[in-house]
């Protein structure tokens, strides 16, 4: 069902965890649907210097979370915002059709984390 890349990211997920004092937090999904992702990011000089994820969900949810962290580290905020769920799915050599909608939310979590960072910046 899953591509080799998905299974690689599922079995060896990159950047699992939670940054202790994050600059931004993004959380998406719904436990009822079975997929919840939480991304914490660290920003330095407008660049994403660190990112970690925690995910409750299926193989696709774990793999997309892992993939988005890998894609985004070292990117500028602008570059990171260009990463869509579709980009993540493609980077994983595709996802099964029934997984495209619910389990492919990692980019949304990333964008929410960046929004959260910006909101915090403004509030400062």
């Amino acid at each position: 069902m899953y591509s080799e890349k998905v299974m690689d990211h599922f079995s060896n997920p990159r950047n699992v965890g939670e940054i202790a004092d994050p600059d931004g937090v993004g959380q998406v999904g719904n436990p009822v649907c079975g997929d919840v992702m939480k991304l914490t990011i660290k920003i330095e000089d407008d660049k994403i210097s660190d990112v970690k994820f925690k995910t409750f969900g299926c193989g696709a949810a774990v793999a997309t979370s892992s993939m988005v962290t890998e894609l985004v580290i070292g990117k500028t905020i602008e570059e990171a915002l260009a990463i869509s769920n579709k980009v993540v799915a493609e980077a994983l050599d595709g996802l099964p059709p029934q997984k495209m909608h619910c389990s492919n939310l990692a980019a949304d979590a990333l964008h929410l984390a960046i929004e959260d960072y910006r909101a915090k910046q403004k509030a400062k």
């Binding site: 299974m7 599922f10 079995s11 997920p13 699992v16 959380q27 998406v28 999904g29 719904n30 436990p31 009822v32 649907c33 079975g34 997929d35 919840v36 992702m37 939480k38 925690k54 995910t55 409750f56 969900g57 299926c58 193989g59 696709a60 949810a61 774990v62 029934q98 997984k99 909608h101 619910c102 389990s103």
Partner: protein
Amino acid sequence: MNEIYFDHSATTPVLPEVVEAMTAYFTDYYGNPSSLYQTGQRSRQAVEAARQSVADLLGADDPKEIIFTGSGTEADNLAIKGVAAAKAKRGNHIVTLAIEHPAVIEPLRHLEKQGFKVTYVPVDKSGIADPAEVVAAITDKTILVSVMLANNVIGTIQPVGEISRQTKARGIALHTDAVQAVGNIAVKVNELGADLLAVSAHKFHGPKGIGALYVRKGTRLDSIIHGGGQERGKRSGTENVPGIIGFAKAMQIAEAERQVKAARLISLRERLVKGVLDNVDEAIYLGDPVRRLPGNACFSFKHIEGESLVLHLDMMGIAASSGSACASHSLEPSHVILAMGYSAVAAHGSLRITMGRATTEAEVDKLIDVLPGIVARLREMSPFSAEATAETFMAEFGGEEHAHDH
């Protein structure tokens, strides 16, 4: 391939004896049973002998009460739509359980669209229905009560016999989906008092693509597949001769082995349940501890999701399944576990282990050995914890719901 197979409720390997019994009917005794000449009559005799054998094993009074179908799903569809069509003039109400298999639920949903009313009777926390509640749901308009014998997720056995006493007294047809039961527990149509009973061969080491519906003499039933009039007009289409032979052979073996196998599986199950509950924190053993299929052990693990669990087990060579959304065609959490009163998150965290005739103690021990590590690893990855539970998450992020239009 997986070295350890813990998914006997999904399907089972066909026994070599069964394949052997079928083989000659592919190549040598290939005649169409409706043909007059010897090659055809040879097939006819084989089919009727198989029908007699299945009737005997189910304790039916007459082989004519057995209709072979293309699957367990078709048998359930035939029972439900067949009775609904035959009795539409008498009433439009059907009673069933909230935990039925989609092969029962979906035909009922289809009938609902056509104006039928369906009552889905709930089950208790252990996954068993109260016969009194089923009976209480019956109205003047009720034409059918459909209560599964054994549940496919949690393995609970329903009090079909108690219900049938009441349906019989009121002249209402009783259907039972016995797809998970046959080969695992005693299934006798007269003891159960069933008027209709669905079976599927691939659940007891027979071939896929062949099912049967028992239809008690006198039960009015319309056909759902029309054509050449085979199976006494109830199921048209050239008979699947090798499939029917394989069905009967597999059922004979399953029935001969049943009691010894059941005792062995119950002890393996108890070993598994103890092993899992002793070694994994915050694990729930779902369903009734006693009134369940011998080989079924179903759990829910807090804060983790079933598909991930299944994939990790698969990487260790273990085949198992989950009532989880993602493990099936539907993305909804198991309606069975929800119906027992558990949360969607608990339902997502379920793992179903179903053992069979070849399951060994070593395999059970292997599972007990690897499971705690996998659960721990997934919990580490989970955004939920003692402090931040799915419930607090829901409260905080409740607006994040997205439509389930797939």
